[in-house]
């Protein structure tokens, strides 16, 4: 609005100034919360830049290159985590057959896919000097020389009384593991059972008792993990064929 008089003009100017001042004051009030909101944003904006600079000098603990490594180590440590859930091996994701057998007072089970054969226990186990305590001896199977493992002593030494070393006199069997040179000495065979994945309580960690895949609930039997079992056996004594890897 225009006025011809200077007085009117100055009034208008004053009014405009007052209005501007009023609006400015309102704007300043609004700015304060924004300032507060901006401050942390500003800090965040600065931090990545600092981090970037730091990263060139030393590993950044926030985004270290080893994050994946840390996670791998955590998994490798086999920390119990119900978040990660039961560990189900690939061979158990569809119905599978198992052989239940007795070792001392414990019922164990071996997936049939891992069973390379069954030999009758007899006097043909030869004790060689220098064998570890958990190896009963060497058994001939045709041309093959089978190292017979004292399964009780190997898997559960705490349950084996010194004087009760299973050696020959009682009836028993030797379970051949795949086509390796290893055989597990067992006291008796029980049954073969076909199982589904849900019938086993699978282990939650792998850092201990790697040979234990899980518990067969109905039979309360210990299901063996052959991979874990092989990992415990010396690698220079009849290892699996290269097809394993």
């Amino acid at each position: 609005m225009r006025s011809g008089s200077s007085q009117s003009s100055s009034c208008l100017d004053a009014a405009d100034t007052a209005l501007d001042n009023y609006l400015d004051s309102l704007f300043n009030d609004i700015e304060r919360p924004v300032d507060r909101a901006m401050s942390p944003l500003a800090k965040v904006d600065i931090r990545p830049a600092d981090t970037t600079r730091q990263q060139s000098l030393q590993p950044d603990p926030i985004n270290p290159p080893a994050t994946c490594q840390d996670r791998k180590e955590e998994v490798d440590e086999g920390l119990i985590s119900r978040r990660s859930g039961p560990i189900v091996p690939a061979w158990a994701r569809s119905p599978f057959q198992t052989l239940l057998f007795q070792v001392s007072d414990v019922t164990l089970a071996l997936p049939l896919k891992a069973l390379g054969g069954i030999l009758q226990w007899n006097d043909r186990i030869n004790d060689l000097p220098g064998l570890p305590e958990w190896v009963l001896g060497v058994m001939l199977d045709g041309e093959r020389k089978i190292l017979v493992v004292d399964t009780a002593r190997f898997l559960m030494p705490e349950r084996v009384a010194e004087e009760k070393r299973a050696l020959g006199s009682s009836c028993g069997y030797v379970l051949l593991i795949e086509d390796s040179h290893w055989g597990l000495a067992v006291d008796g065979l029980r049954d073969t059972v076909k199982l589904e994945t849900h019938q086993v309580h699978w282990r939650l960690r792998t850092d201990k008792r790697s040979w234990l895949a899980g518990i067969i609930v109905d039979q309360l039997s210990i299901l063996l993990d052959v991979e874990g079992l092989f990992a415990m056996l010396p690698s220079n004594k009849g290892t699996r064929p290269s097809a394993r890897t």
Binding site: I80, P86, M156, R159, R203, L204, K208, R209, V217, D218
Partner: protein, 159 residues
């Protein structure tokens, strides 16, 4: 503590399931007791700690059973008709405790619970919550959450 608060404290009632081990009476929080079972087949688990007797099948669930006597440093004994498995739920998981016998549910006011005498045995003092007198007999309160260390809970929590 003010008199009013003290009275309120003394007024809080705790219910305990009591069990017997080697003639001594122990009590555990009833809220942590799921059920009490007769002793059935306990399947041993190779490589388990010495205080683990084995596992049982509880309606399709595998429950680890602890030898409570062994855990408390008491000599083992034969299982008989009085023996029971108390299935408890701690912060960590569900386990069974083999005991000589289960007695009764008792109510105690918290004010009746005294601190256990400290005789320098850190091992037992860890899970002994306190003691109380009940009908001229000593009642030993057990803190189930501290019955095993975190590492020990992890050890038995394999499946």
């Amino acid at each position: 503590m003010s008199t009013t608060a003290d009275e309120a404290f003394r007024g809080q009632v705790v219910q305990l399931v009591t069990f017997v081990l080697k003639g001594e009476v122990y009590g555990i929080n009833v809220m942590q007791v799921q059920e009490v079972l007769r002793v059935s087949e306990i399947a041993p688990v190779p490589g388990a700690p010495a205080y683990v007797l084995g596992i049982i099948n509880l309606r399709g669930n595998v429950v680890t059973v602890i030898d409570t006597r062994a855990r408390f440093g008491l000599p083992s004994t034969e299982v008989d008709d009085s023996s029971r498995i108390i299935v408890i739920e701690s912060e960590k998981q569900v386990v069974g405790m083999l005991v000589d016998a289960v007695a009764e549910v008792v109510e105690l006011r918290e004010g009746e619970i005294d601190v256990a005498p400290n005789v320098g045995n850190e091992e037992s003092s860890r899970y002994i919550q306190g003691v109380a007198t009940r009908e001229s007999k000593l009642l030993i309160l057990v803190d189930l959450n501290k019955l095993l260390t975190d590492e020990e809970w992890a050890e038995i929590n394999m499946y």
